[in-house]
Assembly symmetry: D2
């Protein structure tokens, strides 16, 4: 039985981790960390856990936790883990970080986009970017996994096959993304009140969203050259779900069938990536509560462009589910252990 500690267990991603780990037959949560709710019962913060979780919240003492846990999940604000993590700690416990601290290999890029000084750049080379479908082997041997951001996960899985196959012009990629509101976290902000989000759609972080360099880095690996993109996220009045609609210029004429063939080749052995049938656009309702990413493409012959689409639950494959998938790999378990929930509809 893997003993797991969660730092930041009272945010939405943390709570989703609790939900998934509670149903995982080889893991149990031994530490519910929460800066805001120390000594408060977890089930008083999340009423769904009533009669399920009886623990009280503890603080975010990584060193104490390292003595009790086999793995630590950090669902914490940017900069927290970077300033706490040490070689000594990594010798005792595996760490899966749901923040952005170890996702970007170039510390200068991190500091530019996050406006924070990185406190432990020496650990960056070791950190493995935990997009399992891409870095499976590296994750297996990792001590420190940087769990990918929600937008980067969905975007990379949707676009990567085209770049890897060299079919699109990397400089032409435009990503228009739409996210449910749980992605904005549980902080009490006016902008996230029900009446502000409901009956509204807006773009935010236009040209400046912090997931941009993370997506660019991952796409660059696939393309074998530096990639710059436009990334525009939108806030959608729904709880869960991310939809990516990406556009790129095809280098040469190619049929939709031939492209779909490439996607199938890459993804048909993947448990969690579903290449949809021709003409079926991904929808977030079909993946809700599950670890699936649904992808599809359409070719626009009139403009010789391709539209690449992906849908995913931002809290599962975009956060907690992928973290558990990484944990499974790191501990030698079947990758899908505890993650085979059927999407819940309606």
């Amino acid at each position: 039985m893997i003993k797991a500690g969660i730092i930041g267990s009272t945010g939405y991603a943390g709570e989703e981790l609790v939900r998934l780990l509670w149903q995982h037959k080889d893991a149990q949560v031994v530490w519910y960390g929460s800066r805001s709710y120390v000594d408060k019962k977890y089930r008083d913060i999340y009423g769904n856990m009533f009669r399920i979780v009886d623990d009280v919240c503890k603080d975010d003492n990584l060193n104490a936790l390292a003595e009790e846990a086999d793995v630590i999940f950090t669902a914490t604000p940017q900069g927290f883990l970077a300033s706490e993590l040490t070689e000594e700690l990594l010798q005792k416990v595996k760490v899966i970080d749901l923040s952005a601290d170890y996702r970007l290999k170039d510390v200068a890029v991190y500091e530019q986009w996050y406006k924070i000084k990185h406190a432990s750049p020496q650990l960056l080379p070791e950190a493995v970017y935990g997009l399992c479908e891409v870095n499976r082997e590296a994750v297996r041997g990792a001590r420190l996994v940087a769990n990918p951001g929600c937008y980067p996960t969905c975007t990379t899985l949707a676009i990567r096959p085209m770049l890897k196959a060299g079919l699109i012009d990397p400089s032409s990629v435009i990503v228009d993304a739409k996210s449910g509101t749980s992605g904005a976290g549980r902080g009490a902000k006016t902008a996230n009140l029900y009446c502000e989000v409901n009956e509204n759609i807006k773009a935010y972080g236009v040209t400046t969203h912090r997931h941009t360099p993370e997506i660019e880095e991952q796409l660059s690996y696939a393309a074998g050259e530096p990639v710059n993109i436009i990334f525009t996220p939108h806030l959608v009045p729904m709880n869960r779900g991310i939809l990516i609609t990406a556009y790129a210029n095809l280098k040469e004429r190619i049929s939709e069938e031939d492209i779909r063939e490439i996607y199938h080749r890459l993804y048909d052995d993947e448990t969690f990536v579903r290449v949809l049938d021709p003409g079926v656009p991904p929808e977030t309702r079909w993946v809700r509560g599950s670890n699936y990413v649904d992808v599809n493409i359409a070719v626009d012959e009139r403009t010789n462009r391709v539209i690449m689409m992906g849908a995913m639950d931002n809290l599962v494959k975009g956060a907690a589910g992928q973290a558990v998938q990484n944990m499974n790999l790191m501990f030698g378990l079947p990758e899908s252990e505890g993650l085979m929930q059927v999407p819940m509809f309606p």
Copy 2:
């Protein structure tokens, strides 16, 4: 492995059964019945089932199905099962009926409220009302289970302890109920379009809703005398969830603590009924996707009345989950097998 057939598998309750049975380790679905979608792939109707269910829909031939299945779930319009079910069929297969055909013991009451002639009243005496927390033993030996309606399940579990203990005046019971829209089914009606339901709340079926006699029958058993109630359901702009707010006059002064004591005594051994802490009203968000019913009470000393509240997922404990719970009992499995999903929030 229990072989299950579902007649009416393409409605919301049917699809929820598919979701739950697919995750049940001792059952498998062998027949996806659907009058409207015969020969169509199930996953083309419900995209969440893509790469999970590969079957095509079959018709609603109960006799053919009885040869293949150990249990048949019928999530069908009122009157269908009553006109199809026979003693012969019941000798071959167990039946769990999610329609109202066998819920009311008095055929005259059925015919009055449903405006349908009952085609097999001779089977009514045998049918067991599948509210497991009340009729557990009878369900264990049943061939034919009438799976309770959504409102009656939540209402009965919330009010029953008070009536059983003789604490309230049975003639004073008023039930104000609120339901998510999945309860209205997947039929294409203007009234259930997104723009009609969204940003709206309304009462419907005022004084005439068909669940009224079902609730009254169950409450009468608890009270030991005939009970007439007012039952007013409301349609709420959300997918899932039922909330019951019920009111009754206390016969004598009694403290909230003493009442809560009674609830705890009755429910603390129940896996799926959670008696909340003092002052915590049930909320549908805390039970979503799970088989739990959350109940609580409040005493209004100013008027000497009690307010009895219950929250539940109408598609799980109010339909498919309770049906699986019944199946578990009928086949000698642990009652909670396949039903321990942690409620999904947000």
Copy 3:
């Protein structure tokens, strides 16, 4: 042209006042008061006002405002106005208070339910309860109007005819209310975040909601005797709208037609109260954005009870619209001036 000042103009009710007054041909807003946003442009707080309102927010200095305005609307926290208002001020300017400070005639009741010491009880006798349909004449001559609460407005208008006619037992009244989330205000609280409210329904303030004594006082006037009720509000995932479903025991048998006759007699000359057709329950979608209250009743012959229902936009007739209606009366304008918006659907 009436010069109006708004203290608390940046809450939802304040902003709705701005919307309505801007479209009122005989009034203009001269003071946008806001404790939190002093010196900030109003249209930066509410983007809908871009290129409509160019003013910056001012503080909540009632005395300075009284020099500039003919009428002051206060949409402020409980206790604010009571501690600021003076006879001197009332000699200069009319005041319409959207808070609860002057709604209850009995200062002890106010202090008990609001847990605040009332700072100007000497002004209570003069304050007119601004439910125009009931106190029209008194409002006309008033200097200080207590604008009714949202729940009390809808409840009183729905139930009052029955009590006035002596048809129901006053001690049997139960009010089950449902409100959209704008009623919770624009304060940044976790409980009102989108993901917490969406896909949820819950009761709140069970047996303790502060509108209870206000409703009771108004119903007592109608009944001619003290009335105690149960009042249970619920939070509904929608922006606007209040629905009241109230229950009471009929003293004697009476037909629905005869009751409806009474409602028509009382309300057919009222511009803003619509008695719906038989069998048509009020729905909040049909009054959205308007000053209408839709009411209807149903008799349950089985239990000899009546169900009284009302629907209203909580921000219009439940707050800002009624305040403007009061202003019209106080300044001798046609009562419906600036309030004839057709409800906006969908």
Copy 4:
């Protein structure tokens, strides 16, 4: 007083026309046409109109209507008006068509995208495309106005200044659009049920949406050369609102300030187009219920692209409001008559 007839008055756009015309001081509706609801009271179909509209629905007899009306609005399925409209009719009455029948000048393009034979191509040259901000003068003298589609209105107003100024490569334009569900109409389709739309976002009509050629034609006029675009609409779980996020390559380096200058020059005299402040993305909540279009741009210096954004209420400026704006022009009234509603929030 302008006498207006509405053919198709019981769809969402038709009902919005009723709402707006009812509040218009120089117009009145004399004919509520509806194929589905002939002889039914209009207020029984739309309860918001209770005690406002007392008329019953009539059929869609254009010739009879032409005798009674000064202007006919047709909110009808594609092909209807084309097959009914005649020179004779146009000599009696002005026509504002909310369908697509006269929007495209090239009949071959119409027939290709709409898969319908156009029954009156001889009227196409005369029809004026009623985008008032572009074709104001032509609208003034028109007998037949083709009221623009919702997506084309928002897209054209957002992008047009860039093309007119020759700042972007016309072949690089990509339009990612998001619409509320009222755009899908009031037809009873499973796909538009509450539970299907709620908690979901999806693209639809990918590469094939019928508004594509309409947008292309309008952008071509602005560019002075043929323009082909990718247009991808998405369905958002909200009632009203359209948001456009469009992307294009800048021909040369140009600052955001210089571009904004161009937008201001073009739009500052327009009543209904609001150029937002730097860094403020348009949001649908700020225009709800109003005839405003909010636009803004952002320059992405990293990729030398521009992002052009627009937000609008699809039922007002995207349909009924623009139709009234056209009517005002055609009848010599102030263009904004009856259209100055302040956006309703929340």
